[in-house]
């Protein structure tokens, strides 16, 4: 036993940039990739880890002193740096058991399809990383690998059921039939349900707002380099920097936000042959079924309502970060709150005013959960060696996807009674959401029938 254990420890001690590519090559060969391809993918994966490590380190080194200066000058304590989703994906893939999430997802999806409990075939294998992140957070909090896989499996079931009931609404927004979004970020819509219900009682909010013109005017602020420059500049000003230092910080921040997606792309490049093979395999197995193909969220990225909501939420998030007592996260790489705007788009059916109000109501939740998970996430980063976070630096994600689901399940996994009660409440809300969207689907179908009859 000891020999095996020390052998595994030896492998892990290579660091994520070495052992995850090694795993990837082995998994690739098992999945019948050509060795040459598997090797190439594996090395690219290592490059992705090294690249992300460099950019995250650069970001932390640039922003942390400014955050320290901010607290000295103003007393505002924002000492947790927001690494955004790309940083979290890096941590997730660095988990030694990460690849097991592929077969688990295939199994869960296949079982639900065979039992006729879902009509969705999730071919978006990339986003298993969301389940991996949930699992590592559960382990970080509870230490239990078994619970981590159980919660990840629950998340897989939930995302498939949500993909089923959201399909018609998604078709209405995208105009594309037969597809749905099986991204877990839709889980947040369950939490939005009661707030959306209250807001739907206010007739004034039913007004249609022209998002297209707003998008044209505001779109430039959403570009990574512009957003980075503005946030870096603002931070420099509030930190009491000199003009030269303000501008340097602004450009450094712009560089970090521009480089993150460029480097994170390498993860995808490395993993896509494998995920393609898996999704082709699954499609072949269920060829003769009428299915919704479950895809990643960008099928909804044509919605200007979503973009306007994301952009307008940026100043709201920054203001909340400053004024909320107990918030310690400095929103940065994750500041564009996709995790909020996309589920809000679905639940409101594209009503911009309601989306914005939902954002104003729920943004504090994102910031508090990000603050709450920061020490767990920082510890994970150091444990896996995927990212080096220096002493005194903290990292998290200001717009962590489905923060409520992750927080209460993590809390329940610790055996916390309140957490367990919250899980029960959440499940009840989930059933209510499921029924509400089912009714909405029937209404849409009836309208379609009438239109085709007329």
């Amino acid at each position: 036993m000891d020999v095996i254990q020390s052998f595994f420890q030896y492998i892990l001690d290579f660091g994520a940039a070495v052992f995850v590519p090694l795993l990837m090559i082995i998994v690739g060969v098992i999945a019948r990739m050509k060795f040459r391809e598997a090797l190439s993918s594996g090395i690219i994966l290592g490059v992705a880890f090294i690249g992300m490590g460099i950019v995250i380190g650069f970001m932390l080194d640039a922003l942390t002193p400014a955050a320290q200066s901010l607290v000295e000058k103003t007393g505002i304590q924002l000492n947790i740096i927001d690494g955004g989703w790309t940083s979290m994906a890096t941590l997730a893939w660095a988990w030694p058991l990460a690849f097991l999430m592929f077969p688990l997802q295939m199994l869960v999806n296949a079982i639900l399809l065979v039992l006729n409990k879902t009509k969705t075939l999730n071919v978006d294998l990339w986003n298993v990383w969301g389940k991996i992140l949930t699992a590592v957070l559960i382990i970080g909090v509870s230490g239990s690998i078994v619970l981590a896989f159980i919660v990840a499996a629950i998340q897989m079931v939930v995302e498939l059921l949500l993909a089923d009931v959201n399909q018609k609404q998604i078709e209405k927004i995208t105009g594309i039939p037969g597809i749905t979004c099986s991204h877990s970020m839709m889980i947040f819509a369950v939490f939005l349900l009661p707030f959306n219900w209250l807001l739907s009682k206010i007739p004034f909010l039913d007004k249609h707002v022209d998002a297209d013109t707003l998008k044209d005017k505001l779109g430039i602020f959403a570009e990574n380099h512009v957003m980075g420059f503005i946030i870096g500049g603002l931070l420099g000003i509030f930190a009491g920097y000199s003009l030269q230092d303000i501008l340097m910080l602004a450009v450094q921040a712009a560089a970090a936000l521009t480089l993150f997606p460029m480097v994170a792309k390498l993860f995808m490049q490395a993993l896509s042959p494998l995920s393609e093979a898996i999704s082709d395999f699954m499609k072949r197995k269920f060829e003769n079924r009428e299915l919704f193909i479950g895809l990643d969220w960008p099928i909804l990225a044509g919605s200007n309502e979503a973009w306007v909501a994301m952009i307008l939420m940026v100043p709201v998030t920054l203001i909340y970060a400053i004024i909320l007592p107990g918030n310690n996260i400095l929103p940065f790489a994750g500041i564009i709150n996709i995790s909020l705007a996309v589920p809000a788009l679905i639940i409101t059916g594209g009503n911009l005013l309601r989306m914005l109000l939902l954002g104003v109501i729920t943004t504090p939740i994102f910031l508090y959960v990000a603050t709450g998970f920061a020490s767990t996430i920082t510890k994970l980063a150091n444990d896996t060696g995927a990212v080096t976070v220096q002493d005194g630096q903290l990292i998290s994600w200001s717009t962590l996807e489905y923060p409520v689901f992750r927080y209460i399940f993590a809390s329940a996994s610790e055996g916390n009674i309140i957490g367990i009660i919250m899980v029960a409440v959440w499940l009840a809300l989930f059933v209510a959401y499921y029924k509400m969207m089912k009714k909405r689907t029937e209404k849409f179908e009836k309208e379609e029938e009438q239109n085709s009859a007329a």
């Binding site: 986003n127 990574n224 997606p261 995808m268 990643d296 044509g302």
Partner: protein, 91 residues
């Protein structure tokens, strides 16, 4: 060499998936082209220097370059048609 761009929400995941599919298809058909994943937030900038845009969304806006349906590459439905269009645009 002609340039093809694929855009998605961050230029990381979905667009990169389509890029690797498209690259494979082009390789099989012996067509050479630059295929690149880009961020939809900066799409206007990228369109200027590209020849074909593969969209994953139904865009309201019309662009000056031919636009193909990227969903076909993700789901396999209508793939043949989009492939033929792409190849004829690049030849």
């Amino acid at each position: 060499m002609k340039k093809v761009i694929v855009a998605c929400g961050s230029g990381v995941a979905t667009s990169q998936t389509v890029v690797s599919k498209v690259k494979k298809i082009l390789e099989k058909n012996g067509v050479r082209a630059n295929v690149e994943a880009v961020d939809i937030k900066s799409l206007d900038l990228h369109v200027k220097s590209s020849d074909v845009y593969i969209a994953i969304t139904k865009a309201k806006k019309q662009y000056d370059i031919p636009t193909l349906n990227g969903i076909a590459f993700l789901t396999g439905m209508g793939l043949q048609e989009e492939t033929e269009k792409l190849i004829s645009l690049l030849k």
